[in-house]
């Protein structure tokens, strides 16, 4: 279950606050996956108590967009901590789907990869199993195929440190790179933080999801949760 609360000393009108929190959640807590399960209790709430004595912030206030952006980035920081925990997770993985025809398609594909148990197992085992990533893209529940053209897709692992080459291309314009540098792949997959980049090449929309690997520890914890 995800529970969270955010409090601030700004005075923010309740409708404006709801707008900020919804905007933030759609770009933070709704973009994380540890195991693909949704709880009956997930709740994030926010309280603004106005102890900082300035005029109340409404959706028309000049500060509204600025605070909304800050709340969004703050929500992302908090959401990422949940993924870093991940009940025994050893890796924090950013799934970045870019150049989609539609934003919603980018998000659905990012979520599909993030929820794939086999992708998550491969990440845990540091296995550059790009086939599982493509498979998860292929079964993503897209409404149509406007964002997905098998001849345009590019898939890479991206290192999050300064090591080079920064990006290891696994699939280029739909063509698997059969002579992949396995040594470099292992180096990137050994990092605690890494990125899976999917360039759909069909548009300009982009979505991110944050996920983690699936470890033995996860099974140990959840095998006897009630006891």
């Amino acid at each position: 279950t995800l529970l969270g609360y955010i409090v601030t000393d700004l005075p923010i009108q309740s409708q404006a606050l709801q707008n900020m929190l919804t905007h933030s959640t759609d770009r933070s807590f709704n973009c994380i996956s540890v195991d693909g399960d949704m709880s009956t209790n997930d709740t994030i709430c926010m309280i603004a108590n106005g102890a900082v004595e300035i005029p109340e912030i409404t959706q028309k206030s000049s500060e509204f967009e600025e605070v909304k952006q800050q709340v969004t980035e703050f929500g992302q920081r908090l959401a990422k901590l949940v993924v870093r925990d991940g009940e025994g997770a050893t890796k924090f993985v950013t799934v970045n789907v870019k150049n989609a025809y539609q934003f919603q398609d980018a998000k659905i594909i990012a979520e599909s990869i993030s929820n794939s148990m086999l992708v998550k197992c491969a990440l845990y085992g540091q296995d550059a199993n790009w086939g599982r990533i493509l498979c998860a893209i292929g079964y993503a529940k897209l409404g149509n195929l406007r964002s997905l053209d098998t001849d345009k897709i590019n898939v890479s692992f991206v290192a999050t440190d300064d090591s080079q080459p920064h990006e290891l291309k696994l699939v280029v314009n739909g063509v698997p790179q059969l002579n992949i540098d396995e040594e470099r792949a292992s180096e990137i997959l050994a990092l605690p933080d890494l990125e899976v980049s999917v360039d759909l090449g069909t548009g300009t929309e982009e979505a991110q999801f944050w996920t983690c690997d699936l470890s033995h520890e996860y099974v140990t914890i959840n095998g006897d949760y009630r006891s």
Binding site: T43, C45, M46, N49, D85, G86, G125
Partner: protein, 206 residues
């Protein structure tokens, strides 16, 4: 087995100090709902009286919604998000799929805190833990009473960290972050957030 070595996440991600928003106080106790005796009940209070507070929330879209979720929705709807001055949270039992008795328990938690702060529909409630078990209201009631009677509220770092711990279940570290921002107008304000979650995580809240 090539998997990474264990990381000391507590050392990496849990802050050691923090500045917190004005006008809030927090408290946490071990009520006994958690079998291991860890902190499992927390109350966050708004003590600022210069402005009627605002609240907003997003909730699970799971078709089975826990009693605290339904209770919070009712309160936010009836108050239009105004005048919410407390959040009470317990861990160890989710009070979910507990039917009418569970609804009564969630409402009871709200009423107990509302009574202490002399206000109606002023408290939101959250629960997390095992699904399908009745909440031990005797322990929760005693815990809420202790928090207020013994005035366990404070706004120091330790208290904020403790309330973050009190909402944890299988978490390997409490999630607490706080930041002070300066708006373009020069106004400074603070955001503090805490979360729990480790498993059963793929939220789609609305």
């Amino acid at each position: 087995q090539k998997a990474s070595k264990a990381i000391d996440k507590y050392a990496l991600y849990v802050p050691k100090t923090g500045v917190f928003p004005k006008g809030f106080k927090v408290a946490a106790v071990a009520s006994g709902v958690k079998k291991n005796g860890n902190l499992d009940l927390g109350v966050l209070l708004n003590v600022n009286k210069s402005y009627e507070s605002s609240a907003a929330a997003v909730f699970t879209t799971n078709k089975f919604q826990a009693a605290p979720v339904l209770t919070c929705k009712r309160i936010l709807k009836s108050t239009n998000g105004k005048g919410i001055n407390a959040i009470v949270v317990n861990s160890g039992c989710a009070n979910s799929v507990t039917g009418e008795l569970g609804m009564k328990d969630a409402e009871n938690m709200v009423n107990l805190v509302d009574k202490e702060i002399n206000s109606k529909n002023s408290t939101l409630v959250m629960s997390t833990g095992v699904i399908g078990q009745r909440l031990s209201m005797d322990k929760i009631s005693k815990g809420i009473e202790d928090i207020f009677k013994q005035n366990k509220f404070n706004n120091d770092f330790e208290s904020w960290l403790n309330i973050a711990k009190s909402i944890c279940t299988t978490d390997t570290f409490p999630k607490l972050i706080t930041s002070t921002f300066t708006l373009t107008s020069g106004v400074k304000y603070t955001l503090t957030g805490m979360a729990k979650g480790a498993g059963m995580i793929c939220p789609n809240m609305a």
